[in-house]
């Protein structure tokens, strides 16, 4: 038994294929499959819906079989000749004009090339892996996954049929995993589905191995996958929405604490409790807002360094909540009096301070009773937890390899333990957290990133933000729609919403 091959096809082998849905996510969101509502609240059940899902999955498999398997076959036929591999790689690079699929293919291929070099360093033909890795890092190979995979299989002396089978099995496994993460069905149903679909693979392998001109046979899938960035940016917007929600809540809390301080005139609160709270609030409002780093691209648009799925995205709008409410101070009327700080007695009633705390507790999944028992510790821990978790998850998603990648899910799990349900949200959470220690730490965290957004907790973020204005003298809530028509300066936006109670005078 070839244990090296078993290790290669093991789901724990961190090449990032887990994070690739093969276009399934885009299909669910952009077409009327009916699998999933806009808030991800639909689950596939048995019957025609499930049959439809199986058909879509087969279509994705056919696309992979018709386009990529011929390259796996040809890479095996190259017998380790790097020059031939480079030609195949170039051919696939030109053929794969869908930038989303190309990105995923390149990242998986590069990961595989780097990983086999280190993992199989004691293999009798380790120099082949070294040569492959050198070619990728040296730029001779773009490093597409099917080509690199075929090369590795040829070193392991697998025949084309076995390699194609392993390749398509990996695609199917990733698709089923993505479906579970999308909430289409549970893990047990997933295994049943995978088993049902596996029986279709031999026929597909047979057809794929005789293809002379690689092609796409289901173009709508290709088109939907090309549009994947749109839904990702939608999700990142939701991520920003989450951050905006925390900003909003942090400001609520700060206002409430200020009022409490003024009302009770307790010096300890002013000197000891309030400053760290303010620092946390600023931490949420300030640097933590850099969820995704933008830089100008050569095409004129802006592009993220890496997206939550370990793929690059394109953005032409600032990373602020888009198409929804954001906090903007109401400009004073032309002839109105200058802004005056409201006296504490003119503010909202004292009980209003508890509203954001209770709301926060409820959304975070803490029972009403436990929230009432210790509001202040809860406040502290929730603020700290939220900022850390957001930072850990998102930084991990944007910076593959960052040690914080493992920190995010870890904190999420810790918060789960504390009763903040919703942070450790997916059935594969534990499995994906395992990526944290490996060289593909970014993928693990990146997968958690979308996971965060695709769970009901994210929906709560989305529905809650903007619908509750702060009590009393609050910043005005304006609707900005569409976002592209209004230039928004992030820094300006942050300064406007900074912790300053004087700001809220209408």
């Amino acid at each position: 038994m070839n244990f090296d091959v078993l290790q290669l096809i093991d789901s724990a082998f961190p090449i990032g294929s887990f994070a690739h849905s093969g276009g399934l996510e885009a299909v669910c969101t952009l077409t009327d499959t009916g699998f999933r509502g806009p808030r991800g609240d639909t689950t596939i059940r048995d019957g025609p819906e499930f049959e439809k899902f199986e058909q879509w999955t087969l279509c994705i498999l056919e696309n992979a079989g018709c386009l990529q398997v011929p390259f796996v076959r040809d890479a095996i036929g190259a017998n380790g000749n790097i020059e031939e591999i480079a030609q195949l790689d170039r051919k696939l690079h030109v053929l794969m004009s869908n930038h989303v699929g190309k990105r995923a293919s390149l990242q998986q291929g590069k990961s595989l090339a780097a990983l086999v070099r280190t993992t199989f360093s004691r293999h009798p033909q380790a120099e082949c892996f070294q040569a492959l890795s050198d070619a990728v890092t040296g730029g001779r190979l773009a490093g597409h996954f099917p080509v690199v995979f075929g090369f590795v299989c040829s070193v392991f002396q697998l025949d084309a049929e076995s390699a194609a089978g392993i390749f398509l099995f990996g695609v199917l496994r990733a698709l089923i995993g993505s479906a579970v993460r999308l909430g289409l069905f549970g893990p047990i149903k997933a295994q049943e589905t995978q088993n049902n679909l596996q029986c279709r693979l031999p026929d597909l392998i047979e057809r794929s191995l005789v293809i002379t001109e690689p092609h796409i046979c289901h173009p709508v899938l290709e088109i939907a996958q090309s549009a994947h960035d749109k839904i990702l940016s939608y999700r990142v917007s939701r991520n920003n929405m989450a951050l905006g929600w925390w900003r909003c809540r942090a400001e609520h809390v700060a206002v409430a604490l200020t009022l409490l301080t003024n009302a009770f005139a307790v010096p300890e609160i002013s000197t000891q409790i309030l400053p760290p709270i303010r620092r946390l609030v600023r931490a949420v409002q300030g640097p933590g807002s850099n969820l995704v780093t933008l830089r100008p691209s050569s095409s004129g648009s802006t592009r993220t360094r890496d997206s939550l799925l370990g793929e690059q995205m394109y953005f032409d709008e600032p990373m602020v909540p888009s198409g929804h409410h954001r906090l903007v101070p109401t400009p004073p009327a032309p002839n109105s009096e200058p802004a005056v700080t409201p006296a504490p007695t003119q503010g909202p009633p004292l009980w209003s301070a508890f509203i954001p705390l209770l709301a926060m507790s409820r959304i975070a999944g803490v029972s009403k009773g436990s929230a009432e028992k210790g509001i202040l510790p809860l406040l502290m821990s929730s603020l700290a937890g939220s900022s850390n978790t957001l930072a850990g998850t998102t930084i991990g998603g944007t910076m593959p390899g960052n040690p914080l990648a493992a920190l995010g899910p870890g904190l999420g799990g810790a918060l789960d333990g504390l009763g903040f349900r919703g942070f450790g949200m997916d059935p594969f959470g534990g499995l994906l957290d395992g990526f944290g220690g490996g060289p593909m730490a970014g993928f693990g965290a990146a997968f958690d990133g979308p996971g965060l957004m695709s769970n009901p907790f994210a929906g709560l973020f989305g529905t809650s933000f903007g619908h509750r204005s702060p009590p009393g003298n609050s910043p005005a809530v304006q609707r900005i729609n569409p976002p592209s028509q209004v230039p928004v300066d992030v820094a300006q936006h942050s300064s406007r919403t900074s912790l300053n109670t004087n700001l809220h005078t209408p």
Binding site: T29, L30, T31, D32, T33, P38, K52, Q55, W56, L58, C59, E62, C66, D89, R90, H93, V94, L95, S97, H99, V100, K102, A142, E213, P214, H215, I216, C217, H218, P219, V220, E222, I223, S226, A227, D229, K230, I231, L232, S233, Y234, V236, S237, R238, M241, S297, S298, S299, G300, S301, F315, D316, E317, P321, S322, G323, H324, G462, P482, S484
Partner: protein
């Protein structure tokens, strides 16, 4: 004349467009002042293809030369093997369109219809290949192969789109086969290749096509057209707004096209789309290509839907 006969033995249509020797650059106030006045220096066509040059050029003010490629019978029938070559010399601007939807008619089992287009775009030139969509009738078998060679500073807009069938007869992607290959070379290096093949299991094909009646792609290459289409491409790259459900009646996506493997030099874009109705497809494509219509001097789809 001998040259013409020789060419006709190989091709069903050939056009060559050169810059007008006597014509200077158009007045800067004209719409399309990036390119020279141009004239058709060679025009050959034979059955079943005909290439028309409109006597009254709808774009006479823009300097763009319009050409219409027409098939006798309004489409391709079994056994047709149409090859067309269009050469655009330096500093010219050409629009190649059709006068209506081209059709691929029913073929006997095992027979196909072949169409091969060969486009050459010279330096500082522009070629807009904007035909109407090809309607794929039930049991049609079409094989289309389009190769475009563009100079490094040439410009190209290549539209290739298909309709699922005759709506009145409830045809929906029931053609026997469709094979479409689009290949673009820049300075001898292939920078884009798209191979789409619809054949095999009809149930799966229908499932994946869903309600979409029109699918296609539009490739944009070159600085000048890229500059004109920058806003449209930017709009296609923006994600959906929060809280707004995606319009499932259409999917439009844009991918950058790189001139090398390092993915650093963007030389164009690939716009892929699918629409649920023909009319929305026409309107959507016209919206995207509106700046190109301004360059070309008009909308070739204006009265076609």
């Amino acid at each position: 004349m001998s040259l013409g006969n020789e060419l006709l033995s190989e091709l069903e249509g050939e056009v060559e467009v050169r810059s007008d020797d006597h014509g200077a650059y158009l007045n800067a106030t004209e719409k399309c002042h990036e390119f020279c006045c141009s004239k058709v220096s060679l025009l050959l066509s034979r059955y079943p293809m005909k290439i028309w040059i409109p006597q009254i050029n709808p774009a006479r003010r823009s300097g763009c030369t319009w050409l219409f490629g027409v098939q006798f019978g309004g489409g391709l029938v079994e056994g047709d093997n149409v090859r067309c070559k269009i050469t655009v010399q330096a500093n010219c601007c050409v629009l190649y369109a059709s006068l209506g939807q081209n059709k691929a008619y029913q073929c006997a089992v095992g027979k196909t219809v072949c169409q091969k287009n060969d486009f050459h775009v010279g330096p500082n030139s522009a070629l807009f290949v904007l035909p109407d969509p090809t309607l794929l009738q039930k049991e049609s078998a079409l094989s289309q192969y389009q190769v475009t060679r563009v100079a490094s500073n040439g410009n190209l807009v290549l539209l290739d789109w298909y309709i699922s069938g005759r709506e009145g007869l409830l045809e929906h992607w029931e053609g026997a086969s469709l094979r479409s290959v689009n290949s673009i070379h820049m300075d001898g290096v292939e920078i884009f290749r798209d191979v789409m093949c619809l054949s095999g299991d009809l149930t799966l094909r229908r499932a994946s096509m869903g309600k979409y009646r029109v699918i296609g792609l539009c490739v944009v290459v070159g600085d000048v057209v890229g500059r004109h289409l920058a806003d449209a491409i930017k709009a296609l790259s923006i994600g959906n707004s929060y809280g707004v459900a995606a319009d499932t009646n259409q999917i439009v996506a844009c991918s950058p096209l790189y001139s090398d493997c390092s993915d650093t030099v963007v030389c164009g874009h690939v716009i892929r789309f699918c629409y649920s109705t023909t009319i929305t497809a026409y309107e959507g494509v016209a919206d995207i290509l509106n700046p190109i219509f301004a360059m070309a001097g008009g909308n070739p789809f204006e009265k076609n839907y």
